[in-house]
């Protein structure tokens, strides 16, 4: 025991950035449709990692592969250094998945009681109810809950076994602002206790608020990865929209312009700074009209990132 006590802090230190889950060159197709293409992705211990992408990007597939619910067509999935389907690994993971129907005639506390029985190290019922904000709903049948309350019950089932690694697939879908903030708080609390969380979301705001590491995924491939600040810096800038006689090639040559796109009768110009570009535009085209300048906000930047891959893919085809 003494040896254990002496070892544990240094072991914790060593494992603080250990990889707890990974996809290594994983591809997965559903019939003809590719869901993931050669994805490399790691989740490190003690972090919140966000898989960010639009619907159908492959987020859920990635989660299901890491849970061992799906087998990859090629590549490797690892959880705690082993096979995700290993029962001992399952003891250390919890999952909130998108689910169409949950047995409706069981009460909240009964659902939690049953799931708790699967785990050998469990949180007390009171703690689980408090963490999921379900104290007052414990005796409510699942079928009588609102959408947000159902989602919170699924969260309770995911955490009741006090897992070291938590998978949350779109955890805040259907939650109102208040419950969403409460869930974020809960996720932060779990991480402060040394837990690791992989969450998928299509809200950039959510990834930004929670994650230590973001992987942007689109059409089955990871297109950007880094800290929230790095992701934002990749996509910051201004968006200029106008109707102009200048052609796209000319526009693209203006210094500071990173991207140009025809959008019906108007063009959309993406630039690092708006002022100099607008000055040049007005100089060269006196007939220019309908000028609008917006800052490429987070959501917009994200759209730009994902849009790029769509265009690249189209170009390749």
């Amino acid at each position: 025991m003494i040896a254990t006590l002496e070892e544990s802090p240094s072991m914790q230190l060593a494992s603080s950035c250990a990889i707890v889950a990974s996809l290594e060159g994983v591809s997965k197709n559903y019939g003809e449709v590719p869901a993931l293409r050669n994805v490399n992705f790691t989740v490190r211990s003690g972090q919140v990692v966000a898989l960010l992408g639009p619907n159908g990007a492959g987020k859920t597939t990635a989660v299901k592969l890491l849970l061992g619910l799906l087998q990859p067509d090629s590549g490797k999935t690892r959880v705690f250094g082993g096979d995700p389907t290993n029962p001992q690994n399952r003891m250390r993971t919890g999952a909130l998945l998108q689910v169409g129907r949950v047995p409706e005639t069981l009460r909240v506390r009964e659902h939690i009681d049953l799931f708790s029985s699967y785990y050998s190290q469990l949180l007390p019922l009171e703690e689980v109810l408090a963490a999921a904000g379900l104290e007052k709903l414990r005796d409510r049948k699942f079928g009588d809950l609102s959408g947000g309350q159902r989602q919170r019950t699924l969260f309770a089932l995911a955490i009741c076994g006090d897992p070291d690694l938590l998978f949350l697939d779109e955890p805040t879908v259907g939650l109102d602002v208040e419950s969403r903030r409460a869930l974020w708080e809960e996720i932060r609390r779990l991480v402060s206790r040394g837990k690791t969380v992989l969450l998928t979301t299509h809200y950039l705001e959510e990834a930004d608020a929670l994650a230590d590491h973001i992987a942007v995924i689109n059409q089955g491939a990871i297109i950007a990865e880094g800290t929230p600040a790095e992701i934002k810096s990749q996509t910051s800038g201004k968006r200029i929209r106008c109707i102009t006689a200048l052609n796209l090639a000319t526009l693209l040559q203006i210094p500071g312009v990173t991207e140009v796109r025809q959008h019906r009768e108007a063009v959309e110009i993406h630039a690092r700074e708006a002022e100099s570009v607008v000055r040049t535009l007005l100089d060269r085209d006196s007939s220019l009209s309908g000028l609008e300048i917006t800052s490429a906000g987070l959501e917009e930047a994200f759209l730009a990132l994902t849009q790029d891959t769509v265009e690249n893919a189209n170009r390749k085809n």
Binding site: E7, K64, P87, Q88, Q98, V99, E110, D113
Partner: protein
């Protein structure tokens, strides 16, 4: 060898008592879940009772078949009918819905031993089978003048409850090859014609010759003959033959269910 490793592995290694607890809770909540579902309890319990009251007590209670009063004879046949309903609806519709709508994936992602899930459904089917038969006996004793020794009654219940197994296996097979919406329809398509052809509604000897030949291939016929054998109105075939047919049928259905189970492992639902 490090103490920490030993400690953590004993923590994670499921013990026998822990596994037993999981099976018990899984079965308990499967029972509660279905008990609170009016669709299940209404169709599984009231239909056999209603048919028995109507055809066994109200209409034909003075008739005698194979030297047996109709109220007693029909406890065996409607008992078989009730067992079939409890078992098919207890397994197939829940499984098809859990599979099709993602709930089974949530359970599979947890450390639940997969077998506990199926065992719970089979136990539930047996419990509801026992409830249906007991209610039939209570009604028969109270209003139909049915009398039988306690030992015979116990044997009748035991036979029919054991007979729940082939139909639970069949339900698992159906549940793996139907969707959430099509499962109840598929069950009824199999359940109702099979009941008729096996002589559960119209006694076997009154069925047309062709149907009587078909009946020999149907599991409910064999279970009802076993039940009738207990109350003293069985067919000429030896009981062992009926048990063998039911066993073979169970194994075939489990084999089909297993194919479905394995097919699911690589597929995405929900």
């Amino acid at each position: 060898m490090s103490t920490a490793a030993v400690l953590s592995s004993t923590h994670l290694e499921p013990s026998v008592s822990h596994t037993a607890t999981i099976y018990l809770k899984e079965a308990k909540y499967e029972f509660l879940k279905n008990l609170r579902m009016r669709v299940y309890t209404a169709s599984v319990i009231s239909f056999p009772l209603m048919f028995y009251v109507l055809f066994g007590l109200v209409l034909n209670s003075k008739e005698v078949i194979s030297g047996m009063r109709v109220p007693t004879y029909m406890i065996a046949t409607y008992g078989t009918f009730g067992v079939m309903g409890a078992s098919l609806f207890g397994t197939a519709s829940g499984l098809a819905a859990d599979r099709g709508l993602g709930w089974l994936q949530v359970k599979r992602a947890s450390p639940m031993p997969p077998f506990a899930y199926f065992a719970a459904k089979v136990i539930l089917s047996m419990i509801f089978s026992a409830i249906v038969i007991s209610l039939l006996l209570v009604v028969g004793f109270s209003f139909g003048g049915v009398r039988m020794p306690l030992a015979e009654m116990a044997k009748l219940i035991a036979t029919l409850v054991a007979g729940s197994l082939p139909f639970s296996a069949m339900g698992l097979a159906i549940g793996y090859f139907t969707g959430p919406n099509s499962a109840p329809a598929a069950i009824n398509l199999i359940y109702l014609p099979m009941s008729f052809c096996s002589g559960l509604w119209v006694p076997y000897m009154f069925l047309p010759k062709l149907v009587r030949q078909i009946a020999l291939a149907l599991p409910p016929y064999h279970l009802s003959q076993l039940a009738l054998g207990v109350v003293g109105a069985g067919s000429h075939e030896p009981a062992a033959t009926h048990w063998e047919v039911l066993l073979a049928f169970t194994l075939i259905c489990l084999g089909v269910a297993r194919i479905g189970f394995q097919r699911d492992q690589g597929k995405l639902y929900g």
